[in-house]
């Protein structure tokens, strides 16, 4: 089993943390995993992304060239990573911020209005958890339980968001 995902968005949208959470969950499942962040030359407001690989075998490079899955939280991310997606791969995009439609038809596309759902839960900050939920239910890279149980390790000292984050994951998981 091997899953390569790129999570991408504006800096501040929590894409790096979402990736860390995913990798942590993979570790708790005794899978191999790598997480590799990448920042643009821009400062805040620029784009950021991370590459996460979850696998049962040794992982050589943490860099992903042809992702199995792309999670695009904003339009520049969609533009950048949709073309690199593997044929038959999964594209999850934040339809709250991305108005245009993905153009490829050889991939599996999931539109998630992540910001709207997150706002309903009280804070757009958990939009990243919404798409992560969608990702889990779509790929089963790890179990949703592992993700949830890993939250305290990753978001240290932010207990008050625990419940919100869990709900966000659940809401997201309803998208398939």
């Amino acid at each position: 089993m091997r899953q390569e995902v790129i999570i991408s968005g504006f800096g501040g949208q929590g894409v790096i943390k979402a990736g860390v959470l995913l990798a942590t969950a993979a570790m708790t499942e005794d899978k191999r995993c790598t997480h590799f962040p990448s920042y643009g030359a821009e400062m805040r407001g620029g784009t950021a992304n991370c590459s996460v690989i979850v696998s049962t075998d040794e992982i050589a490079s943490p860099i992903i060239n042809e992702p199995d899955t792309v999670i695009a939280m904003n339009e520049p991310s969609l533009d950048k990573f949709e073309p690199r997606l593997k044929k038959g791969g999964v594209l999850i995009y934040n339809s709250s911020l991305i108005s245009k439609k993905p153009s490829r038809n050889d991939i599996d596309i999931v539109a998630v209005p992540a910001n709207e759902i997150a706002e309903q839960l009280g804070t757009t900050k958990c939009a990243n958890m919404v798409v992560l939920g969608a990702y889990i239910s779509k790929t089963h890279a790890v179990s949703l339980e592992s993700i949830k149980s890993s939250i305290p390790k990753v978001f240290k000292g932010k207990d008050k968001f625990l419940a919100t984050n869990k709900s966000a994951l659940d809401k997201g998981a309803q998208f398939k």
Binding site: V20, A23, M27, C33, F36, A60, S61, P62, I63
Partner: protein, 374 residues
């Protein structure tokens, strides 16, 4: 001690830079002097609070030059000390490193390489191999160079570095790159928390001369005969290190038709390529130097003779390949595949390079064949 953060063997997910920083503290580091530079900023950032917890000193120095000289002072006082930087910053430290090597003070430092030369960029690169292994500073000296290939090694090599540094009274460094520094993967510390009070005493430190003869640390040896003796003394030490401390990893070298020599990140990519190659029935082996200096010269010589085809993969325009050529001694075909400037090659690319190397004909033994150009 409750300042111990992780248990030995406990699996954690952590960035390479942070693993290295934690590993250093765990190994007894109690002084860090450094200056920010990407892609190693997690090291000072982590240590700025972690050393506080551990009762050590963290100083953000005014420059890399100051930082390395702070280490000169701290190490002279017997403290396990550390600095880290990248590219430009390491260049600025060369004078200080030369002094420290001459004064035979044990320090640990890391270069998390970025793209160069000049300001370059902040992407992973291996362009500082020469600088690390040939002593970018002035004079005849060498530093012990460890090249981790995983976050696990990033975390565990600081202990090795300190132990070697203390054993030989010589600087020891980790040569990593932005990829190893920035990536996270599960790792576990393989050594117990080092109790710094139980480290072997040092008989050369500046502690005040109470109850003993006064001591002098000095690298000025005006008398040429004295300086020559000092140089030969260092030489002997380096020979000892060469004899005792070579470390490398071999994989599938037994039946290989071609050997990839690569370190650090390149070696990870090589593993990917080798796996793919073996699936296709192509027999490729790997030699991963772990100590870049002392260089695993014997095994290179042996593999060159036995296998006859070597492919060196580096994230630069060709540095390690010169050492390979030097020790291959004209006994094997030598191929080079490089990606400089921050580009990390893919397994596929390297697989392709392997295939092209295997197909090559009429190649002169011992000459470097640039596959990038072919």
């Amino acid at each position: 001690m409750n300042i111990e953060k992780y248990k030995k063997g406990e699996k954690i997910l952590i960035k390479g830079n942070e693993a290295m920083a934690e590993g250093a503290v765990r190994a007894g580091c109690r002084f860090f002097g450094g200056y920010p530079i990407t892609p190693q900023n997690e090291v000072p950032e982590y240590l700025s609070w972690r050393l506080f917890e551990a009762g050590g000193t963290f100083i953000q120095a005014e420059s890399e030059v100051a930082a390395i000289n702070m280490l000169y002072g701290a190490a002279a006082c017997g403290t396990r000390s550390m600095t880290s930087s990248s590219g430009c910053g390491i260049s600025l430290k060369q004078e200080g490193i030369s002094y420290i090597a001459s004064a035979e003070l044990p320090i640990f430092y890391a270069n998390v390489i970025r793209g160069g030369p000049g300001l370059g960029n902040i992407a992973p690169c291996q362009g500082d191999y020469f600088q690390a292994t040939r002593g970018g500073g002035h004079g005849d000296y060498r530093v012990i160079v460890l090249a981790p290939g995983s976050v696990n090694e990033m975390g565990n090599f600081p202990k090795l570095a300190y132990d070697l540094a203390d054993k030989y009274r010589n600087p020891a460094m980790i040569l990593a790159d932005g990829l190893l520094g920035q990536m996270m993967e599960p790792m576990a510390f393989d050594f117990d928390w080092v109790n710094i009070d139980k480290l072997p005493p040092k008989d050369y430190t500046m502690t005040g001369c109470k109850g003993r003869e006064r001591r002098i640390i000095n690298t000025l040896l005006m008398d040429i005969n004295v300086l020559e003796r000092h140089n030969w003394h260092l030489f002997e030490k380096y020979e000892q290190i060469k004899a005792n401390e070579v470390r490398f990893e071999e994989r599938y070298t037994d039946d290989a038709d071609i050997i990839i020599v690569a370190f650090g990140t390149s070696a990870r990519i090589a593993v990917d390529a080798i796996t793919k190659a073996r699936e296709q029935g192509i027999k490729v082996g790997l030699l991963r130097p772990i100590t870049l200096w002392p260089f695993p010269e014997k095994i290179v010589a042996e593999l060159a003779e036995r296998v006859g085809k070597i492919l060196v993969v580096e994230m630069n325009i060709g540095q390690l390949v010169e050492d390979v050529k030097m020790f291959a001694n004209g006994k094997s075909e030598i191929y080079f595949y490089g990606r400089p400037g921050g580009v990390v090659p893919t397994g596929e690319e390297v697989l392709d390079a392997i295939k092209r190397a295997l197909k090559s004909r009429n190649v002169k033994l011992g000459e470097i064949n640039h596959l990038n150009k072919l």
